[in-house]
């Protein structure tokens, strides 16, 4: 049986339905991500698991116990917010100790556990600082320690990295995942950032307009998107409509064709490589290790990614090129 079982969850605010028939099963120790654009209902799902919102219908079970209408303070669910929500009137130490004090732990126990947590999130020396004296990354680590010290059964992360700058976000991402693995925490992570979702998750649930669009491992979702929405959201897929598919590849489809930009091979027109689709480079973007070309093939624009191996291979805007697309790299999505 799943450790965290969400069954047929629905949430309506007035007449608008925010979450529809949402269901998921999470194993103990699994790191699951809800990924979707803002307003897709992912945060509402999280808030229902935390107990801040009551579902209109459906059930939430943790470790076999019905939690659907249990008060948030009795759920044993820890949560970390995007804006940290640290208590401004308390020091780092007092913030982390808050949950233990509420549980009437002894002073020596509080001191020991808070000390362990401070070590875990690498904040030694900052015990007596107030939140406003810390950087964003440090604040979020305090928030994490505060949620973890009471040993929650489920950890909820509501876009915890979104307010941080790029460099801190990447290092904190690894630290977060490392701690989660070490403590074997059952975790739900909410984000709109597909890179975050791909690098951290055991499983990703892509959400759109209140329902689950597709779920699976990061590799699954990346290589086998089932719908046009997932293909757009997860990769930078080239999506071709019915007419375009026929015109470009001669493949009849009812929905869309999805082609990953890195699966298309690109050759200069005069390279002697036979066959392929002729096109002209409109412009390119240098993404560091990758060069992303935009190639016009008639009326159809395609993105093509190549590894940035050698500056001499760079094809300039206006160059005529040939594109090779293998049939097995083309995916039909609904």
């Amino acid at each position: 049986m799943a450790y965290l079982d969400i069954h047929q969850l629905n949430k309506q605010f007035g007449a608008t339905s925010v979450v529809q028939d949402f269901g998921m099963n999470i194993r103990q120790g699994e790191f699951v991500t809800l990924l979707g654009p803002s307003g897709c209902g992912k945060s509402t799902v999280l808030r229902m698991v935390a107990g801040f919102e009551t579902p209109t219908s459906g059930a939430i079970h943790i470790d076999g116990m019905d939690m659907t209408s249990v008060s948030p303070r009795k759920r044993g669910v820890g949560i970390v917010f995007q804006n940290y929500a640290l208590f401004p009137n308390m020091t780092v130490q007092q913030n982390i100790a808050f949950g233990l004090k509420v549980r009437r732990c002894t002073d020596s126990e509080i001191r020991r556990k808070v000390g362990e947590m401070i070590e875990l999130v690498e904040l030694a020396g900052k015990e007596r600082f107030f939140p406003h004296e810390l950087s964003g990354g440090q604040r979020q680590r305090v928030a994490l320690a505060r949620a973890l010290v009471v040993e929650p059964r489920v950890l909820l992360l509501d876009e915890p990295l979104s307010a941080l700058d790029e460099r801190i976000r990447k290092s904190l991402r690894e630290q977060l995942r490392d701690i989660q693995r070490r403590l074997g925490l059952t975790t739900i992570f909410v984000t709109h950032d597909q890179e975050e979702a791909m690098t951290m998750s055991d499983r990703i649930f892509v959400m759109n307009k209140g329902h689950i669009e597709q779920q699976g491992s990061p590799e699954d979702l990346y290589t086998r998107p089932a719908t046009e929405f997932v293909a757009r959201f997860i990769g930078n897929y080239n999506l071709l409509g019915t007419q375009e598919s026929h015109a470009l590849l001669g493949i009849p489809v009812t929905g869309h064709l999805a082609i990953r930009p890195e699966s298309i091979r690109i050759f200069p027109h005069d390279s002697g490589e036979p066959g392929g689709i002729s096109g002209t480079i409109r412009h390119y973007q240098l993404l560091g290790s990758v060069i992303r070309y935009r190639v016009d093939c008639g009326d159809i624009a395609l993105h093509v990614d190549t590894l940035n191996r050698n500056a001499a291979d760079l094809l300039n805007a206006g160059s005529a090129v040939r594109l090779h697309i293998e049939r097995e790299d083309v995916r039909e999505v609904s």
């Binding site: 935390a50 948030p72 820890g78 917010f81 401004p88 808050f98 949950g99 107030f130 004296e133 009471v150």
Partner: protein
């Protein structure tokens, strides 16, 4: 053009200052003239040593403190709940808290006397202690606009929902969240509400007079009707108390957030 408007502004300020300071200075000067042919603080000595002054001022100060405590206990949780659960009710509550400014105190107190007189279902005016209770209740009503506004401003400045939810998920109950998390973070708002309330209550006349309680306001009126120099001294004293309260608001409003020991290292 710009120069003209600036001169106009300075003129307005100068006029306002004179309008405010001249009577104050005249009152102060007059209060020093009790002794013939010399300036002295005799009037102040007389006032401050008057047992009636001490008794009424002490009574009013006590009433003010009780008002502050009960007003806070009423308003702080209400404002918090409104912020957290019923943000749409903000306008309604704001309107209700403004009513004491619109309805004259004398109307309110006649209403009380009608409801709670000694032959009513709840005869609060039957004994002195229960009349004190009624007086505190009416002072809470009077101070609602000031208390609610300052607390509301304080709550706007903190992430009420985030802090509440964080504390909830850590296992805290409602009372714990209010006293350990919410109130400490709006400390300066609470203090300014408290000082405003103190200033309002200490000089209040209508309620205390009509409920026949020995408060500072009726004493001021009595002195004003029967003495020459002492009322001026009293006016200056009352003025200083009020302005002292205002000054303290500013002091506390500036010391926001955490205060650390000097000498400890910073990031």
């Amino acid at each position: 053009m710009k120069r003209d408007s600036r001169i106009g502004a300075w003129l307005a300020i100068a006029f306002g200052t004179l309008y405010f300071l001249v009577p104050l200075a005249a009152t102060f000067l007059f209060s020093l003239k009790m002794r013939r042919d010399a300036l002295s603080f005799d009037a102040y000595r007389v006032v401050l040593t008057d047992p009636q002054f001490q008794a009424t001022f002490g009574y009013s100060a006590l009433m003010a403190c009780l008002t502050i405590v009960s007003g806070m206990l009423l308003v702080a949780p209400t404002a918090w709940w409104i912020h957290l659960k019923l943000p749409r009710m903000k306008g309604v509550i704001e309107f209700i808290t403004l009513l004491p400014l619109v309805i004259p105190a004398i109307v309110i107190v006649f209403g009380y006397l009608h409801l709670f007189n000694s032959s009513s279902f709840l005869p609060l005016t039957a004994s002195e202690r229960s009349t004190d209770l009624l007086l505190v209740a009416s002072y809470v009503t009077l101070s609602l606009p000031y208390l609610y506004r300052s607390i509301d401003t304080g709550l706007r400045a903190v992430d009420v929902r985030g802090l509440t939810e964080a504390a909830q998920s850590l296992g805290a109950g409602w009372a714990g969240i209010l006293f350990k998390v919410i109130l400490p973070n709006i400390r300066s708002a609470l203090l300014s509400g408290a000082f405003l309330t103190f200033a309002v209550v200490i000089g209040e006349f209508t309620m205390a007079s009509l409920l026949n309680r020995p408060a500072f306001g009726p004493y001021l009126q009595l002195m004003g009707a029967n003495r020459a120099y002492e009322p001026s001294a009293l006016a200056i004293i009352a003025f200083l108390v009020t302005w002292g309260s205002m000054g303290l608001i500013n002091v506390f409003a500036r010391n926001r957030g955490g205060i650390r020991c000097p000498g400890s290292q910073s990031s």
